[in-house]
Assembly symmetry: C2
Homo-oligomer: 333 residues x 2
């Protein structure tokens, strides 16, 4: 082991409003020492996710992140030393490494990943993003050929894959994204049938034009006004896959929810269902096999947004929350 | 046929705020003449339902009711003449008879009912109310023994049956109702484990005390603040059966929905699902057989609130919307 310094990004203050650089601090810590059952990891890529911001609010599906500790985050890492029989040096793993160069993590909290190139795909299409898109769309949304599928944050890591899987399933696909460039990209590069620019205002009307037969499946990454607009245009027995509420993460929580709950849910017999990709891990291999086949055949294009340097992680997350990314954003450490 | 006058209650104005007597008018019309395929009906009982009010807002799962026509409503009636081979004089039917003494209705829109006593049960436990409770709780809520089931409008026609079925299934049952008398009745007469008086304020805290292990199934008849309080206390993978939104019917529609949508739905992997009892008609006989067995064994007590006189129908609906009824409210014509 040559390094003796472990650069770490700490969360030094919990944001009450918008997240800023002042909430983080880059420090130099000592190299971690793996305890019994732990592996020492060299972090290669850190995943940036809207959920990182939600963890600052309080307990979600995991404990809240605490101040003056290393900011939590998923990463792809290589084992450089191991005190666990299940891992050996050279193994590639995914786990909550946190925002740092090196981490000592219990082996039981790590998932062994295949060595494949590009390694970044382990965080995008073959990682949480791809699996979230796969299970959320197919298991919760249950799209049928000919139906209309709408997805928000469509140019993001999950949304861009949701839309492409829906196309494979024979659906009309409408993406909601911020800005004309992203919208053009969705239709010209990713094969979406239509795209709605939510920054253009008049989301309700634009959505009506893009989905003239109504919405059968809405894959919701945002909540708020966009969920409200989609709810109003859902068809009878439509399904809403509740994947995230990015509109609610960065800033004070909203004082109310979308209109139409529960009135429209009753009248249209809608199903709104939340899910967490971790619940589907037993079916992971089957999903990966199908995703790999779609990537190999060119039916899914993988877009990644890789930023160099651990020191840039805070800004990369702030930018992600502002919608700067296209496809899966990650840090190359 | 001896009668020559058909008393009818017309909706003469659509309410923009609270429903009042001024929105109705009792008139004397001519006896209807059944056309080809229609049956002439003598109406015996008219069902009063919160949904009657929702129909005045606009199209729901049926077309909106129009002004200066007979107010729509379900009724139990006897066939006195028939121009359809499927019905004969003496048959008992359920259908949208409207608020009147006599109606001519296409036979295909009528459901033939068994002749049983008391006939009122055809509108309560063996009617829409009982079937709504049965399918909404069992098919959407999917309660398991030992789970906590919460139902709102618990002293109403549907809620009082939902709670009793949930008890039969071995659940802890909490009813939400307005006023101490109703709450006492739920626990002392109907076997609910606890009751929460929403008029007492502090609904959130009272619910926490009544459902200390959280809520697994919430059968929602109201929407609004009560839905919001329940959402916050749902357990992981909880189910919300969206049956109605009575809090939203009488007055201007709410400008927003409950907090926690979709945030809590995601984090807790909740399912919110709307349903309409008509979707379950293929499984009706099976449900009726089970309900009849429970009534016969005394496991379900049927409470009805029967008011005499067609002229009292408007006031009976106004009172129902204010929560005056206990059990199924209906008019004996």
């Amino acid at each position: 082991m040559t390094a003796t310094v472990n650069r770490q990004v700490l969360l030094v203050e919990k944001p009450t409003g918008k997240l800023g650089l002042e909430h983080f601090k880059l420090v130099e810590g000592a190299m971690p020492e793996p305890k019994d059952g732990e592996a020492l990891l060299r972090v290669h890529y850190i995943s940036l996710d809207a959920a990182n911001r939600a963890w600052m609010h309080g307990a979600t599906y995991r404990a809240a992140v605490e101040t003056n500790t290393v900011m939590a985050g998923g990463g792809i890492a290589e084992v450089i030393a191991s005190n666990s029989p299940s891992l050996k040096p050279g193994d590639i793993v995914f786990g909550d490494t946190g925002w740092q160069d090196y981490a000592a993590v219990p082996a039981k909290h790590l998932t062994k990943m295949p060595r494949l190139e590009p390694m970044t795909h382990l965080l995008s299409i073959y990682g949480i993003a791809g699996l979230t898109a796969y299970f959320g769309l197919l298991d919760i949304g249950k799209p049928k050929a000919g139906e209309t599928v709408v997805v928000s944050v469509a140019a993001g890591s999950v949304g861009s894959i949701v839309g492409q899987i829906a196309k494979i399933k024979g659906c009309r696909v409408v993406g909601i994204a911020g800005g004309k460039d992203k919208c053009d990209w969705l239709t010209s590069e990713l094969g979406f049938d239509a795209a709605v620019d939510y920054k253009d205002g008049a989301i309700f009307k634009a959505l009506r034009a893009a989905a003239p037969d109504g919405i059968d499946v809405y894959f919701d990454n945002v909540g708020g006004d966009i969920l409200e607009a989609c709810l109003a245009q859902m068809n009878l027995r439509g399904r809403i896959a509740c994947c995230g509420a990015i509109s609610q993460y960065d800033g004070a929580p909203s004082a109310s929810g979308p209109r139409g709950v529960p009135g429209l849910i009753v009248v249209k017999r809608l199903t709104m269902q939340g899910f967490i990709v971790m619940d589907y891990m037993a079916k992971r291999d089957e999903a990966l096999a199908e995703l790999q086949a779609w990537v190999a055949s060119g039916q899914i294009k993988v877009r990644e947004d890789v930023i160099d340097g651990l020191e840039n992680t805070p800004q990369a997350l702030i930018g992600l929350l502002a919608g700067d990314n296209r496809g899966k954003r990650m840090i190359r450490v």
